[in-house]
Symmetry: C2
Subunit: 222 residues, 2 copies
Amino acid sequence: MEIIKPEEGEILDIELEEDFLKRNKKLAEENRVLLEKHKVRAIDVMGSIGSGKTSLIGLLSSFLSKIFKIGIIAGDLTTDIDAKRLEGEEIKVVQINTGKECHLDANLVKKALQNLELDKIDLIFIENVGNLICPAEFPLGAHKRIVVVSVTEGPWMVVKHPYIFEEADVVVINKVDLSEAMGVSPGKLAKDVEKINPKAKTIPVSCRKKEGIEEVIKALNL
Amino acid sequence: MEIIKPEEGEILDIELEEDFLKRNKKLAEENRVLLEKHKVRAIDVMGSIGSGKTSLIGLLSSFLSKIFKIGIIAGDLTTDIDAKRLEGEEIKVVQINTGKECHLDANLVKKALQNLELDKIDLIFIENVGNLICPAEFPLGAHKRIVVVSVTEGPWMVVKHPYIFEEADVVVINKVDLSEAMGVSPGKLAKDVEKINPKAKTIPVSCRKKEGIEEVIKALNL
């Protein structure tokens, strides 16, 4: 079998990306300064489409809203389905529609932060665009990063996406109630994470059965 | 709820993308000319990670290898798991590892085509990187595009990704054997596709049960 690994310049849009990454990093640092000035903690939640990011943020928010005032920034290409699911009396949501863009970036989050009253908020969840590749390279200024994978995505999910797991503080393995039906072992996925990033805390979760949520909160060490 | 839709220039890496898209389009046209010169048909298979692209290509190939000589180009960030699953005595596979890049582009496919003996091949399946966003904008020179979604990815899969479905000739709704367990209706997903792209043919499939494969072949109209 031939294996092609492109050399520098062979991927069409990678050459100029370094500049964007530098600009993004600087803006992410500015976001962090702004958040800390207002004593707000922010958590970037990444994962594929359908992995359960919105359900997880919903459960974490309803649990944590007893202690913290919560804001949510929801990224999506064109819809506000997730934002509508998450909005509540106590919870302020800002939707970012990225159009064709496959990840949030620090500039868009900066704009969203301007739409939240930061003095009235303690904790922000940022739901990234559903994608396990592109968001890895774009820090947003958040204090922690959660990656959500679900057993329904199959057994190769972690090993195929090393970069995003390198960046994770907490990895949620979701839909563990379906692991037998799917023939996918949460334990094996956790071992795959450990090989890539031994510091990440991996938590089995079933958002549908509301199991594992307290463990995620402990792992976040807020 | 606030909804932010970025204006031109506000997304960090979108400004220069137009140039890449133009270069890609030109290279895709060159790939198409090369394929037609050698009387080879090519099919670009797109879909999320875990949606079942590799299983589908495996089933289509083993069915069609009775009639056609088949080649496969498999895109993946870093692994060759899929390529190894697909390789067979009769089937030549070229792996492209894109590194951190989230889609195949026409330049990488051009390079892969140079590694296939086109005179000895009738039909090429190109397995794109697992991602429902970025590949939409990068035609590769293929004659047809299949998008694979599975019911395990949840009910919002299609409506959240209009761009990729606009580009599809055939949409495979996979894992329909799990639709009851998941509470996701294949019929609803098919209607969502129809609203975005009335010309696309939508086929319910279970790769695990080998159901729907002949219907996909008919829909491809090879």
